[in-house]
């Protein structure tokens, strides 16, 4: 399945923002405006503010004029949230996970349990999709045969 071979290499991190749509940010900095984060994550500014409002992000630092200043830690979190979003996990569940993180170290077991549940969902989704792929291949074959 070529999945666990990744082992300990810290996947999907190391400040290249997200994937694909992302422009890399200047290294060695730890303060980004909302528009920089928009450029690098592909999320809209509206969405980023909304994430903060609903508690899916920790409270973001502000400049002396009240503007958001995102840190590298915030970007890491956004990258992880992006992954969870791909699994189809409802935003409410992600908020729950975020809350557990805020509550501190004694919630580690709960967090692990939550992620393991998500993991099972992901495996099921992959199986479903591979099943669907078989159906699609069958149909496409039918259309290809007597074109």
């Amino acid at each position: 399945m070529t999945v666990t071979q990744v082992a300990k290499s810290r996947p999907g991190s190391v400040r290249s923002c997200e994937d694909g749509t992302a422009r890399p940010l200047p290294d060695g900095r730890d303060q980004y405006t909302i528009s920089e984060v928009v450029a690098c994550t592909g999320l809209s500014a509206h969405t980023l503010r909304w994430y903060e409002r609903i508690g899916l992000m920790p409270h973001i630092d502000r400049s002396h004029t009240g503007q958001r200043r995102f840190t590298n830690k915030d970007l890491d979190w956004l990258a992880f949230v992006g992954k969870l979003r791909l699994t189809g996990m409802p935003v409410a569940d992600m908020v729950r996970y975020a809350e557990l993180v805020r509550l501190g170290d004694h919630t580690r077991a709960d967090r692990r349990e939550l992620l393991e549940g998500t993991r099972v969902d992901v495996l099921r989704r992959i199986a479903e999709l591979q099943d669907t792929l078989a159906v699609l291949d069958y149909k496409i074959d039918m259309y290809a045969e007597r074109a």
Copy 2:
């Protein structure tokens, strides 16, 4: 990838309704009430009627009193739609596909193209999910290590 090994075995068909949630229907029949279809597909009656209204299903036969009588062909179609739904394909696109089917044989190339596009989407989704799985495994490992 163990996908094309299915080859020509007609996957996901042969009147066992859908998967999992489904009770099999009595064989050798070709007329089912909406509640029978509900029991076997797991879709709600509302959803089935809505599918017909928006053109995602062909017009369903009626009894002399106006009640729907689904055929085996309808059930096959619903099973296929169920697969497409799993891919995240928007309902509007499925309706488009249904229209092509209604329009007859000369739309076969279009239909094939549509399904091939969907196939690419599915492959991408699977890759994304496997990527996400790696991230989840990494995190779960972290929580497991120093419990």
